[in-house]
Amino acid sequence: MNWTWFHKFASPPHAYRLLGTLRPWLFWPAVVLMLWAVYNGLFVAPTDYQQGDSFRIMYVHVPSASLSLMVYSMMAIAAGIGIIWRMKLAHAVAAGCAVIGAWFTVLALVTGAIWGKPMWGAWWAWDPRLTSELILLFLYLGYMALRASYDDVQRADRASGILAVVGIVNVPIVKYSVQWWNSLHQGSSLSLTGSSAIDPSMLPPLLAMMVGFLLFFGAILCDRVRAEILTRERNAGWLSEAA
């Protein structure tokens, strides 16, 4: 099989240019989708008979929560590729994912807490989902702290990459253990996303919001990865032309 296209794609100058052209194509559709979803989610979708208007928090909570986990998986996969094939671009992607993913995790935690206040009567409950999300945040913070403590980018890449891969093995174990722990301690609390039949008109805005978040993440990631590529290039004549 011919791999030259791949090496060309993964070469820093090419990736740098490609990501630059890709960004607006992700950014503007994301903005349009999210605005449409906000309008339809907040004003058009009918009020939930059980949770009132607070259910609409779902439209920002669910996308950020699902993205927080997805970004972590992506980070770990990229880090694994970077370690195995010693690919700078993959390390750059992993490094770019971390900050954004951590922010999405914070967002999911805070919106979850704000949603919990009217639903549970408390800002925080040791709900399995909230708890494992909190541990995910610690994983992100550990990854970023480890990166920051190395001065050399190459070593930071490899060390934090190992941590990301170990962490992704850990995520399902934490998820299972926390669920198991919770089921022994208390009866099923009112779940945030409510598996009950949700009105069909509530769904399209949610899907639009999720896709919008994903595209928006892609757009931010383009910028972050381009920045990471630049910091990794030591001796590149193309920098003066590209940058």
């Binding site: 370690i83 541990i135 610690f138 994983l139 913070l141 550990g142 702290a145 480890l146 403590s149 190395y150 050399d152 070593r155 490899r158 060390a159 190992i162 941590l163 891969v165 170990v166 962490g167 093995v169 850990n170 174990i173 934490v174 299972y176 253990s177 926390v178 198991w180 722990w181 022994l184």
Partner: protein, 232 residues
């Protein structure tokens, strides 16, 4: 430079590493005793901070013992790889043609023998102070034996990752604690089930599963991390 003519087999290598580590631990027994002392102190603090009422203490006993064990294992980790990296021994290990992952596994096992095992042996004594009935001693010791071994293995990954960093204390805690959460959950749960006389096989099996996973995959991560740590 002449090469060692007869490369030892895996088991001979293991016994050499174990022997070396245990000898070293015997020479620095005062440092080895510190995490154990820390464990005792933390457990002692809880009755003072909450209440001397045994009925109340009994409720939190599993959590207290397990949190103390976790903190003590964290304290012990700092000296797992760092001295050997600083005096250049680890660099020799990396350069030698022996399997690094296997040597690190044995090193961690030795570390558990001097930091985890005493804690397991001491635990009934401290448990009694917190109102753990004699009938729950076997569960307490079994859960700690499996659990502290898993904590050593998981913690060793973190210790290997931070060995190339100048001051890694808080960083080590941040890296290791999320990994150790399941061990804490299953360990404390096994003890509290054991105290009420319920079946404890479930959480103990899960602890054993975590230990097996950590023993089989952990050393590879450790070896990769140590290579990064010593290359500076």
């Amino acid at each position: 430079m002449s090469r060692v003519t007869d490369a030892p087999g895996l088991w001979a290598l293991a016994s050499r590493v174990l022997g070396r580590e245990l000898t070293l631990a015997g020479r620095h027994w005062d440092q080895v005793a510190q995490p154990l002392l820390f464990f005792v102190i933390v457990v002692t603090l809880f009755p003072l901070a909450t209440s001397p009422d045994l009925a109340q203490l009994r409720q939190i006993a599993p959590g207290v013992v397990w949190v103390a064990a976790m903190l003590s294992s964290l304290l012990a980790l700092e000296s797992l790889f760092r001295p050997d990296v600083e005096d250049g021994t680890m660099e020799q290990w990396v350069l030698s043609e022996q399997p690094l992952a296997w040597m690190l596994l044995m090193k961690t096992a030795a570390h558990w023998l001097v930091s985890g095992l005493p804690l397991v042996i001491l635990s009934p004594l401290l448990g009694t102070g917190l109102g753990v009935p004699v009938s729950a001693w076997p569960v307490l010791m079994a859960s700690l034996a499996l659990g502290t071994a898993a904590l050593s293995m998981l913690g060793a990954i973190g210790a290997a990752l931070t060995v190339g960093v100048r001051r890694g204390n808080v960083l080590l805690a941040l890296l290791v604690l999320p990994l150790e959460v399941p061990v804490l959950i299953f360990g404390a749960r096994a003890v509290s089930l054991g105290m009420t006389g319920e079946a404890v096989a479930g959480p103990l099996n899960l602890l054993a599963a975590i230990l097996i996973l950590a023993v089989s995959l952990g050393p590879m991560a450790m070896a990769a991390a140590i290579r990064i740590g010593v290359e500076s």
